[in-house]
């Protein structure tokens, strides 16, 4: 048959097991229960076990990488949360750095213990970050991105110029009591963040937040105070990012200007763009890929950030949905080619 005359299209059909396991009958067979449970349980089981296995088998370097992953994953999720409510942040490093510096300063100058500096840093970072950016929330679109991009860089210049908080040398902080606390506090925080963000965004409150991201005029017309809702989302997201910052401070025993660096602003964006946005799982997948890419490419030094940005551009231009939605679709549906009638 002449190939050119035949029109073919792709047809996507839900897998039988996906359809069957969509309701209560999933409980009737082990196959369906594992179909539902495994993809959800395996990543978290791995996350909980990895530090244990790695540390006990003597790979303490890689065990630390898992902690860094948890920190980056939280940053990526907080970025995704902001994006859902229509705030495109290019300065996640602002929140990260604020949290980092507040906890280090309280620890270093006032000798607060670590279990107080971490929450204080998270809340303080969220309050300050929200206060700095509150004005821009009245504007829509790209304005938020511009201001958030400029803010962390300005803060770096201010600290450099005034020698405030240690200037270019930074502030030292005490370490976590031992590795297990560091690992399991960060992993617990990551898991709590993941599930609470997901729950939050599927509640009514989250529905409004997502609606603001899509059409703020419609939300205003429904009699909802868009500005105030945006403040709430910003507070929660910056709190998560500042919390990540405090963890990093105590992990590295140091808060410095590098906390405000562009790398911490770009990594969350790249994670979400690569992993796919919308349900936070993509953010985590993206940050997994980037964390391990970072370790693998350690020799490249500053060129790493060039590679992330290139990868980000490629994904934004060519593979727009990201990796996770693709995997999710293949897991639920199969594709076949059919003739166009």
């Amino acid at each position: 048959m002449d190939k050119n005359n035949k029109l073919i299209r792709k047809e996507r059909i839900d897998r039988g097991i996906f359809v069957r396991s969509a309701d209560i009958f999933a409980l009737s067979s082990w196959q369906e229960m594992t179909y539902l449970l495994l993809p959800r349980a395996i990543p978290f089981a791995l996350l909980l076990l990895l530090p244990l296995v790695l540390e006990l088998s003597g790979n303490s370097y890689w065990a630390k990488v898992v902690v860094v992953f948890a920190i980056l994953g939280m940053m990526a999720m907080s970025w995704d949360l902001l994006r859902m409510a229509g705030m495109f942040s290019l300065g996640q490093a602002l929140f990260f750095g604020l949290g980092s510096y507040i906890s280090a300063a309280l620890n270093h100058y006032f000798h607060w213990p670590i279990y107080l500096t971490i929450p204080a840093g998270a809340i303080g970072g969220a309050l300050l970050g929200t206060a700095f950016l509150m004005g821009t929330l009245k504007l829509r679109g790209i304005y938020f991105a511009m201001v958030t991009l400029a803010f962390p860089m300005l803060v770096i210049r201010v600290i450099q110029a005034t020698n405030f908080l240690g200037g270019t040398e930074g502030v030292s902080a005490t370490a976590f009591p031992n590795f297990w606390v560091a690992a399991y506090v960060s992993i617990a925080a990551l898991i709590i963040c993941f599930f609470s963000f997901r729950r939050m965004m599927s509640s009514d409150w989250g529905l409004v937040a997502r609606a603001i991201g899509q059409d703020d005029i419609a939300v205003t017309a429904s009699g909802i105070n868009v500005f105030w809702r945006k403040v709430q989302v910003l507070f929660i997201a910056s709190g998560a990012a500042a919390f990540a910052g405090t963890l990093m401070t105590h992990l590295l025993m140091y808060a410095g200007l590098s906390s405000f660096s562009l790398e911490y602003s770009i990594l969350p964006v790249a994670s979400v763009v690569i992993g796919g946005s919308g349900n936070f799982a993509g953010a985590l997948l993206g940050s997994t890929i980037l964390t391990f890419a970072t370790e693998a490419l350690r020799d490249l030094g500053p060129l790493r950030i060039a590679l992330y940005s290139l990868l980000m551009v490629v994904f934004a231009l060519a593979i727009r949905e990201g990796i996770f939605p693709y995997i999710e679709r293949r897991y639920r549906q199969f594709e076949r080619k059919v003739d166009v009638i």
């Binding site: 009245k138 790209i142 991009l149 201010v158 500005f227 763009v273 940005s309 290139l310 551009v313 231009l317």
Partner: protein, 289 residues
């Protein structure tokens, strides 16, 4: 006091030169070109290469780098931004990503650093009212004024300038009367890149060709834009004068370490009082409804 006036003027013009290219593209096509700092650095870098590696005379290398950057800006629009035009998030990611890519590749190339610099247009300095002022600063004031005059004339009295203004007012209406929005946006990206090179050629001779310079330029372009109002040339000039004179005054009257604090406070203050900037056209949420 005379020194404060003249140095403040030069500083303000410098900031206005830096900010105008960013604001020009944003005002016309609505694209926030976060690769602006990279264009600035790339322009300076190409001029340096043409001047020192190929041994061309300075004026030729300056024109060469301007032309190349026009092409690069246009290509970036055609092959990257145009594909995702209108999707704000993707636009931000693409321009930002390409900007960082260019900047970091230049950092890795090893051609950037404190021993690389561009020559002044006219070396030396003149004395005005007993104060020595480098010729380069005077040239910045001159070029800045000339550039704003040209931009003003072009956007008011030429067909292409009127088309630009139509685009900036309402892109859909401009489309409906037969203006090619992609061509105009491409042109605006190219011109934006050229403005970045002009700023680079003016400013780099005062210092060095450094990677931090690229990020500084982006910050200052954003700061002036946020303060004065993006997309409005009057706003850019006013914003540049406020920051320029505030910085010069703090540096001479207090000490230079407070310069960035003043800039930072100015921006925070303006964001609280009038988030769209002093002359901003960016509408606030309530106004749109």
């Amino acid at each position: 006091m005379a020194g404060l006036l003249i140095f403040g003027l030069a500083k303000s013009m410098e900031l206005a030169l830096v900010a105008i290219g960013f604001s020009f593209v944003f005002g016309i096509s609505g694209i926030a070109n976060f690769a602006y700092g990279a264009f600035y650095l790339l322009g300076g870098f190409l001029a340096y290469i043409l001047l020192n590696s190929l041994g061309l005379p300075y004026w030729m290398s300056a024109i060469g780098s301007i032309l190349m950057l026009f092409v690069i800006g246009a290509l970036m629009y055609r092959f990257a931004v145009q594909r995702i035009r209108g999707a704000i998030l993707s636009e931000v990611i693409v321009t930002m990503g390409l900007g960082i890519f260019i900047t970091e590749m230049l950092r890795a190339s090893g051609f950037i650093g404190h021993n690389r610099y561009l020559p002044a247009f006219i070396p030396g300095y003149v004395e005005i009212a007993g104060i020595g002022i480098e010729n380069q600063r005077l040239m910045i004031i001159l070029i800045g004024m000339l550039l704003f005059l040209i931009l003003w004339a072009v956007t008011r009295y030429t067909r292409i300038g009127l088309a630009f203004r139509a685009m900036s007012q309402d892109e859909l209406t401009a489309l409906s009367i037969g203006l090619n929005n992609n061509y105009l946006a491409l042109l605006s990206m190219g011109i934006g890149a050229v403005l970045a090179v002009i700023a680079a050629l003016c400013i780099i001779p005062q210092g060095f060709l450094t990677v931090d310079g690229a990020y500084d330029v982006l910050i200052y372009a954003l700061a002036v834009g946020v303060l004065g109002g993006l997309g409005s040339t009057t706003g850019i000039i006013i914003g540049a004068f406020i920051i320029g004179y505030a910085q010069t005054a703090t540096a001479t009257l207090f000490s230079s370490q407070w310069v960035m604090v003043v800039t930072f406070l100015a921006i925070v203050l303006v964001l609280f009082i009038k988030p769209s900037g002093i002359f901003g056209k960016q509408k606030e949420l309530e106004e749109k409804v």
